[in-house]
Structure formats: structure tokens, C-alpha cells
Symmetry: C3
Subunit: 470 residues, 3 copies
């Protein structure tokens, strides 16, 4: 899928006079890897080192000089040194005057220092043009050419010409430079490679907690209850049956939790009578991780589908059905067909299939490349209209499946209600509120508020003024 011919094709030799020289300070892993790649792509490389000795580790064809000698050879100097050792650069201020310094350093922790490494470097060597770049690359990937996850190079810097130069180098190395603006973006660029799915943390822990809770709840209510009451060992249900009870519940709750903040926000706006007051922080943060919540929900729905479809292959199910049929044959009793059962059974299956189908559609449209190719109106249409359709279908699926069981007292074991009842609380709440919110009388007020109208306001004149503005 990737253009990798640069990585494997031997490069035609380029006569040395047309080669451009790049200087690299530091002979560590990153310095060497960048140097190797640059040599392969037709640059001439000079390493600057404290102890300038050629070593077998350095890529063949590169020179090693002292820092100041190396700096004189090139206008572009890659600083592949840890921030802690930047001090020596102050001594070179004169040589570095007007040169492009490319800071490729990373830290060990997010926000380790008050200012970013690149800004610190710019303070140390005020006469140079500091550009932050290449820090998100892996040395191994550079050497091997396996740049799958890291073809992107975030570049920032205050001097546009210097930045352009570095972006050109990145292009030549077969990378994709992304201009991130001024040097003040360096902090973010330095934090980027240290992140591990920051937006997924809360949704992940939430779904993990839900999983554990429902699993223990089901084990108590089914396995332990039947062991205590009937002395039956049905622990084997923990392998498939109980996961298949936990997954749909968690999926449904997560899906409802995606749409809950929206209705809370609408209620808040109705209550306040204005949209011009910020939502509480927790609501804002909740809204920002709706995509992650939805995708986790989709994962559980996917597991539920698989767990459901394997039911007829299971030994236990085959044994039970075979026994039932054999008993029917032996007792010669007839098993009458119930049309209403067939209707109920087929309905919740069909609703579940359609719900899963739209859930998958929602998931596909949240792929970065798909969501980038739709406009805001289309995205809203899919995520809001299709999303609610999915929620309605899945809630109806659970409701019909639960069916009569909800009301029968036999479904209460040790006063614990069926998991379906618990799982339905949030989805039903969301749907009921949403239904109320789209009643014409309430929807009209909400639309007014969202267009800038305020119930009782001193700034109504200002709002009127806003009418002419976008």
C-alpha cells in the first residue's frame, strides 16, 4: 500500500558537487538514523561531536568533526542531543548566527519543563532560526524504511523560510511535513509522541467498570443463585452465555451515554433560557469523547453479534435441543406452533440486525478519512439522525427481547432484577427526554435559543444586533 521504492531501490549516484550538506550535532541513535536516511536521499552529512572520531557506528560516507567545525559546513544543523546538554551551544552562538537549528528532541514526560525544548533552544541561541521537527519519528523506522505510523512530520518555527527549508528536507526524505505554525506550537509537538490514547482513557475505564459490574452481577444472579438453590453446576455459562449477556448491555449503555450529554445540554439551555453561558466542564469533556464511547459500544455490539451467532454450534445448546426433541418424540406430545412467539422472536432478531447495521455505519463514518470527506451538515446528519435511529432500534431490540420477563416475579432472584431492566434505564431516559424535546412547542423554543434569542435579557439588543452577523 505504501510507496516504498525509495527504501529499497539503490539510488543512482549523485555527483558530490550538487549535493547539499546537512550538519547533525550528536551521534546517538536518532542522529545516526537521520544521517543514514539523508545520505540515502542524496544529502552530504557532517556529524558534529564532542569527541570527533570516525566510528563504525556512523553511516558510511559521513564526516565527523568538532561541533564548531561541523556547524560551519552547513546552514542547516540538526540538534540530536538531549535538552539537558544544550548548554554547550551558548559557546557556539557566533557560529550558529543565522543558521537553521532543527530541534528533534523529545522528553520523557508530558510538560516536563515549563517551556518546550525548542523554545529553550531559541532562547539559548537567539541569533539562530529554530525549527521543531522530526521528533515524532522513530529511529528504527527511519533506518528500516517502515514508516507506516510516522510518515507525518510536524514542523513549527517562527521563521517561515527556515521552516520551508526543513519541510523541503522532510519531503526529500519521503516524509509528509505538516506545518503547525509558530514555535509556540512546539510544546504540543513535543507532547504528542508521549501520548497513549488520551481521549480513550475515560471511555475505556467506564466500559471496563460496566463490564466487570455486569459480569459479577450475572454470575451472582445466574451461576451462584442456581448453585445455591438447585445445586446445579452451570459455571460453564461464564464462557459464552454470560459474556453474551454483558456485551449487549454495555454496548447499549455506551450508545445511550453518547446521546445523553446532548439532551442534558438542551435541558440546560432551556432552563437557563440562553445559549450564551458555558456548559459545565464535565459536560464539555463528556461531549468531546462521544466518538470514543460510541466506538467502544460498537466493539461490544460486535462481540454480542459473534456470541449470538455461535449459539447453535455450542455443545450445550445442541444437547438441550436434542434432548427436548427426543423427549417430544418419546412422549409423542405435539409441540404446537405459536405465531405470536414467532412474531416476537423474529422481530427482536430483525431489530437487532438493523440496529447493528446502522451502528456499523456510524462506526465507518467516524473513520478519519471518511469523516474528513463529508461536510459538517452530512456529519451531523449521520451522527445525529442515524445515531438516534440506531439507539431506537437497539432499545426496541432489548425491550422486545426482555418482553414478558420484565413483569413476571420469577425474574427477580434474590431481589436482583434482570440485567435488561438495568441496561434499559439510561437508553429509555434518553429517548423519552429526546421525544419531549422534539415536541413542536419545546423544539420551537430550543431553536429560538440556539439562534441567539434569550428569555429575559439585558443584552437582547445585542442579540438583535447579532442577527445581521453570522
Amino acid at each position: 500500500m505504501e510507496k516504498t521504492s525509495t527504501d529499497t531501490l539503490p539510488l543512482t549516484m549523485i555527483s558530490s558537487e550538487e549535493r547539499e550538506t546537512i550538519c547533525i550535532f550528536g551521534t546517538g541513535d536518532m542522529g545516526r538514523s537521520l544521517g543514514l536516511r539523508m545520505l540515502q536521499c542524496g544529502y552530504s552529512i557532517v556529524f558534529g561531536s564532542r569527541t570527533p572520531r570516525m566510528s563504525s557506528l556512523l553511516p558510511k560516507g559521513a564526516d565527523v568533526l568538532s561541533y564548531s567545525e561541523a556547524a560551519q559546513k552547513s546552514d542547516t544543523i540538526i540538534i540530536a542531543i538531549h535538552r539537558e546538554h544544550y548548554d554547550f551551544l551558548t559557546a557556539l552562538t557566533e557560529v550558529l548566527q543565522g543558521k537553521i537549528l532543527v530541534d528533534v528532541s523529545n522528553n520523557l514526560k508530558v510538560n516536563q519543563y515549563p517551556e518546550s525544548n525548542a523554545e529553550y533552544l531559541a532562547q539559548l541561541v537567539p541569533g539562530a532560526h529554530v525549527v521543531k521537527a522530526f521528533n515524532t519519528l522513530s529511529a528504527w523506522a527511519l533506518q528500516s524504511g517502515a514508516l507506516d505510523a510516522s510518515r507525518q512530520v510536524f514542523v513549527c518555527g517562527n521563521d517561515n523560510k527556515a521552516k520551508q527549508k526543513v519541510m523541503d528536507i522532510a519531503h526529500t526524505l519521503g516524509l509528509t511535513p505538516l506545518d503547525q505554525g509558530a514555535l509556540r506550537a512546539a510544546k504540543e509537538i513535543e507532547n504528542y509522541p508521549l501520548q497513549l490514547f488520551p481521549m480513550w482513557k475515560v471511555p475505556f475505564y467506564l466500559s471496563a467498570c460496566l463490564c466487570v459490574f455486569f459480569f459479577i452481577y450475572c454470575v451472582i444472579r445466574e451461576v451462584i443463585y442456581s448453585y445455591v438453590n438447585d445445586k446445579k453446576d452451570i459455571t460453564f455459562r461464564m464462557a459464552v452465555s454470560i459474556p453474551n449477556r454483558v456485551c449487549p448491555m454495555v454496548a447499549l449503555i455506551l450508545l445511550a451515554v453518547v446521546y445523553l450529554p446532548g439532551v442534558i445540554a438542551a435541558i440546560l439551555q432551556l432552563y437557563r433560557g440562553t445559549k450564551y453561558r458555558r456548559f459545565p466542564d464535565w459536560l464539555d469533556r463528556w461531549m468531546l469523547c462521544r466518538k470514543q464511547l460510541g466506538l467502544l459500544g460498537l466493539g461490544f455490539a460486535f462481540l454480542h453479534v459473534l456470541y449470538t451467532l455461535v449459539i447453535p454450534i455450542r455443545y450445550y445448546v445442541r444437547w438441550r435441543l436434542g434432548n427436548a426433541t427426543a423427549t417430544q418424540a418419546i412422549t409423542k406430545k405435539e409441540n404446537p406452533f405459536s405465531t405470536s412467539t414467532a412474531w416476537l422472536n423474529d422481530s427482536y432478531i430483525s431489530l437487532g440486525i438493523l440496529g447493528f447495521f446502522f451502528f456499523v455505519l456510524l462506526g465507518i463514518t467516524s473513520l478519519p478519512s471518511v469523516s474528513n470527506s463529508v461536510n459538517w451538515r452530512e456529519f451531523r446528519f449521520v451522527q445525529s439522525k442515524l445515531g438516534y435511529l440506531t439507539l431506537i432500534l437497539c432499545t426496541a431490540h432489548t425491550l422486545i427481547y426482555g418482553g414478558k420477563r420484565f413483569l413476571s416475579p420469577s425474574s427477580l432472584r434474590w431481589y436482583l432484577p434482570s440485567t435488561h431492566i438495568i441496561a434499559l434505564i439510561i437508553p429509555c431516559t434518553v429517548l423519552v427526554i429526546k421525544f419531549i424535546l422534539i415536541l413542536p412547542c419545546i423544539d420551537k423554543v430550543l431553536t429560538w435559543i440556539r439562534q441567539g434569542w434569550e428569555r429575559s435579557s439585558k443584552s437582547s439588543e445585542s442579540a438583535m444586533n447579532g442577527k445581521t452577523d453570522i
Copy 2:
């Protein structure tokens, strides 16, 4: 998945002298949201307003001045005002001389005005450099940082320097500017946010019609027929059985419809003896929505797979199989094994699985990020070779499934043939014609024609001339 740290991290304070000032005309929702975001990203903001009074609605830290005063504070002026109120800008022509005016306006309807808002603005203030940008953003997303679907900013303008400036601002705001060329692209940029899946409309309606038709057809042929003839109530079949008959039919027809325009085009070229005449418009438009047709077909195929796999879980099926087995046991009749039935049954299952597998592959390669990473030859290979393989597999699956039933008169009910026969018409036609087209003698002529040869032509000399050209 998204870099959102800019959205949540408090920004280190930047001393005011290094801040750049941007002026925003209009204090509506969009103006305020852009202003807030720019303030957060380190710009200094001045609002221009008809009634310059500070209001609680405006982001803290921004100034509000009259239009002309505000305009003097900055070289870049965002015009966040509805097009209908642009007139007042003519009075400011002098102040706006040489400044960058960023038109962020949208219309309510596609092609509402003869010229785009940005071009209209450029006519009103001829001395300014008008750049169209930011109109595809949502105000809410800007405020909250949830820029999933709208990180892209389409930018166009006649002055390259002005355009570059606006693209730099977009970068600083964490957005992805996309240069769309000269200001004449503004109309398209203004229409973009008003579209709602324009390419999907025809395919969607086509498949909806097919669905409704086949559903009614099946209900008449199966449910009503058996109610009238046998007085049996099998309405429950409308929940799963009939959808599972409709979905594969629609999927197969949509897949065939993807490849039908290709063979029609080939026949047209053969008939005309030249490729140098335009295809009729309907054929061109048909060819352009093949991807959408195929993806809808994949959706129906996916539903068909799910509906098929739940068969053994259904109450009706379990009841029927259980009864059959019980009857077999009671009557002590043996049920002989038929190898040919096993072969037929396993064959169409296997063909269906493989067909679905390749259909999914086709779907994955039409994801924007995947299709962008393959070259034209690879894309053609997948979409043409794999596509026909899929069509062959799916057609064979249906043919074998329909099997003997096609010929038996019992399959005719009320003179209505089985749905399989109807569904197979287009796929078989496409495959037969394609088979004829790849016969060596015909393929040779077609290849000649596609390389520029013409059967009877005055311009053959010109075609010869073309031989040396690409």
C-alpha cells in the same frame, strides 16, 4: 485519535507585544467563535460592530470598536456578516485598501446568488484582497474544539500572499487549510456545506425502490398467497424471512448495475467504431455513481449475511426442525443422506461466503484513505478484476441456490415467478455480454478503438499523428 491537546491545555501566556491583531467584523455566533479560538491560539482580537459596546457575549480579552476604527488595527479582517448586509463596506473602501478580507459567509441554498459571496465582496471593495475561508466550520465545533468533521478549511483567493496569510492563521488555529486556487472557486466552497450526500441520492432512491418492490412482491407471493390458498397465517415471515429474500436480491442487482454501464459503454464504442464521441449524459452520470451503488449493494449483502446466520436461532426454524426430527423418530422412517444435495448446499454456501468476502474487499478499497494510497493501475485491478470475480461468485451463488426450483412449475404462484429469476436477469446479462466482449476477436477491436483507432474516419491521419503523443 485526534490531537486535541490544544483544545484543553491552557495556553502559556504570550506577552502582548508579540501577538498579532486580527479584526473581526460582526459579533454573531461565527464571529464570536472564531474570535474565541483565535484568542486561545495567541492572537489579539478586535471586533468591529455597528454598535460598538462591550457585551458579555464576546470572548474576554477582545476589544469592540466601530467598523472603521477596528479595520485600522489589523491587516486581516474577517467578514462575519451575512451577504445581505455587505453594502456598508463600500463606505469603508478607503480604510480597507490593500487589506486582506476573509469572507466566511454561507448561503441558505445552493447557487442562491449568481456570483459567490466572496466575488461579490471583491466587487464591492475592489482595493482589498478577498480570501474565502472558514465557511465550512461549525461555530459550535470551533468553540468546543470538537473539530472531527471539519478540520479542513477550503481557502481560495486571487492574491497568493493574502491566501498564504489566511492559511497560516488556519494552521495556527489547528485546522488543515486546503488551497482551492483562485477566487472563482469560492462558489464551489460556498455550496459545499449545503450539500447532503449529493452523489448518494440516485443510488439511494434506486435501492429504496428495489427494496419496496421486492418486499411487496414477496409479501404477495408468499404471505398473501398462502393465506388465500391455504388459510395459513405466516405474516411473521415479514420480520426475517422476507427481508432475507429482499436483501440478497437488491444487493445482487446493485452489484450488477455497477458493471452494466461499463459494458454499455463498450458496446457503444464498438457500434460507433470510435472512442472519440462523448457518451450520453445519463451514462456518464451513471458511471460516476458506481462507487455509491456498490457500497449500497455491500450494505444489503451485509444484512443478508446477518439474516442468514441467525436462521438457526429462530424459534420458527427450531420448531420446524424439532418437529421433523420427532416425526422421523416416531414413524421410525430413515432419512437417507443425499450426496448431491450436500454438494449443492455446500457449494452455494461456499460461493456466497467467497462472494461476500470479495465484496467486503471491494468496499474496503473504496475507503478514501485506502483508494488514495493505491495507484490507478491497482485501483483498476481491484475494482475491475475483483469486481467481476465478486459478481460471478454472487451470481453463481444465486443460480445454485435457486437450482431446480427455476424450472418446476410449482414455483409459479399466481403466475409470479420466483424472485431469484427476476434478480438474476441483470447480473446474467452483464456477465454474458462481458464474456462476449472478452472473446479474443472482439477484445482486439475494442482495444484498437481504445488506443485511438477509428473504423471509418477522416481523422485517421490525426489519429496516426496521435500515436506519437500520449
Copy 3:
């Protein structure tokens, strides 16, 4: 999904004085298509031709002149001529002085000539600025606007201004120019459209061989064996049962083969005591196609899931289960329930489901747009941690499924062991070695080595030096 309004909307007429003229040498397919598109996007077009006669084939509104006359009309000249006919350009050297020549040519074979067409053109006309572009586009797609797979235009050239000009034209045509650096990148750009999934070849052939091998093995061991020994015709098993035995085996082996080079590399590093020696070439190449191996494995896993889920629908299975139940009923023997069988059965089903789920997750993260939006640390986490979890789950699934059968002598037929045993060799080896490698004592040494430590080295001082560097 795609913005295609440019393709269909009629363009408002632009007065001729503001139109820019572009010259196209060559009236072949590509020249005409580019010309048509440029005319549609508001450029004025002049064709240069050996025999300058207007022809019906050329887009309306374009002029046709002799080469030298046409060249004088524009600063930008598209050379839409086969490389073999470039010679005549030497005669025009004077006219082409300082002009931008855009080479759009392609070759028929990879690396057909020692130097790229664009570099050859630059040698022929030294005074002109040669830019390579547009060669990856298809003429048909340009004419019809169906630019799905080829909106990308790779551009390279030594003169930055000329390159920028060509990129602007590409933008205006609605394409996405990608700067690939200097003209020496032209060779790669010319090879690009000739590739047909180069990275997929080895993985594809490997999996095809595995498939064929396991298929024949299973046919011999099951179908032929039972025909020879029991005279039973079970050839129908070749349609579903045997594919469902082949697919999981191939999937498991491919998944293990993804992680095998990693452990081999670790062993090599431990053995050599240094990371500063290159891996053998085959290991490097193996590492680079791990993604493709994994995705092919996922494809087989997907087929395995489908083949497994259709089991209860199969005629053969229904016949067998029905017979067994009927026999049970007739003989009135009871079929006792075995909790341990239920546990084993449910466990391998559950492990398989979870394994497949994580396998799908791995596949999704290798989509270009997803892997581009995660950083290196996140990518490593998913591909390494989740990958090994998948391998463990799938291996355990196979182990438990194979279960007791492994040891029973009855599973040996004609001295051929069960396929499970063969399929488990590589996965178990990988997991055992990996387990040894993460033992604290060995992991510590490996971490040292990977941080630059060397066991016995003259260059240890240099490695020490590297400590301060990145």
C-alpha cells in the same frame, strides 16, 4: 463522498483577458484530456502539434499551432509526448529558454531507461525548468471527473517557482498536488503508476502456497483416506468443511509469521551482543511486509468465522444432528450432559471470538487514515501488545479445539498428523521464545543492547558518548 460539483456544474464564462494560457505539446489522449479539463477550469489552451490542423477530436475552444508558435504563447508547456520522440525539442531550445516544461510521460516498464524521462528532458533542454507531474492521472478519469483513485498529483522539480506554478495549476484543476522534492524523485514518480501491489507479492504467494498445501493435505487425509478405507464418498466436504479447516490454519500461521521476525531479531541482537550490526536482508524485507502478512491472515480469519457460523445451516449437519436425535429417541437412550465438554467447547468458542475481535482491531488500526492519526507509541502499543494478545488467544483457541485429539493415535491417518499440530508449530515457537525473551534477566540485557550498550566492544567509548545524544 467526493466533491464533484466542479465536474458537473457549468462554469460561468470568464472573460478572455483574465484567462491564463497553457500550451500543450501533443494531441494524444492525455494531451486532449488535460486540455479539456484545463479549458473547463478557466484556462486558455494552445496545442502544439507536428501537423497543426484543428481536428474534431480536440476540445472546443483550443487553438492548434506548430510547436514553436504554440510555445511562444505560454510560459508553461505540457509535454504530452512519448519519451522516444523528445528529440525534436532540441531544435526548440531557444524558444523554450526559461519556460516551465511539465513532463507527464509514463513508461511501459519499471526502470525502463537508466534516467527518468523528466531528467532526460532536462538534459535535452537545459535552459528550461522541468517539472514532473500529472503522470499518475488517467486520461479517462480526467475527462469524466471520476478521480477517485487519482486525485493525487506527485510533483517534483529543481526550480521551486516552476514547481509551485504547476502545483497551483493542479489545485485549480481540483487535484491534490504532493511535492516530492527535487527532479531526482522523477524516477520514483514514473515507476509509481506501473506498480501492482509490490509489497503484497511475497505475502500473497506465501499464503497461496499454504492454502494449496493444507487443502491437498486435508483432501488426502480426510476425503481420500475415508474413500480408500471405508469406501465412503465424502467429496462434498471439499466445499465447506475443508476450507474451514484450511482458513484458520493459514490465518494462524500468517499471524505467527508476523511476529516471528521480531523474535529472530531479538535473538540475533542477544547473540551478537550489539544492535549496531545490520540484520540480514531477508529479515529486513520480512519485517517490512508484516502488515501485509497480518492483513492476509485477517482475511483468512474472516473466512473461517463465516465458514464456522454457517455450520448449523448446512444440510449435512442438519441431517446428522436430526439422525442422532431420532436414534436417541428410538433407542430411548439418555444422552448425559458433560460439564467438562461444555466448558471446553464454550472456552474455545469464546477464545476464538475474542481473538478474532482483536485481530479485526489490528486490521482497523492498519488502515492508512487510522495509523496516520496515532503516534508512534500508540501504534507500537496496538501492533505489539494487542498483536501478541491476539496471537495468544488464537493459539489457545486452536490448542483447546485440538484438545485431546492431539494425543490419541486415531488422529494419525497414514502417518499424517492432524492439521492442528502442523499449524501450531510456528505460533507455539514464537510464543515460547517471546516468553523466554521477556523473562526479567534476558529482558534486561536486551534493553541494554537496544539502548546502545555493547557486550565486548572497542567502540564502547563511542557508545558512552552517544549517551548524551538522542
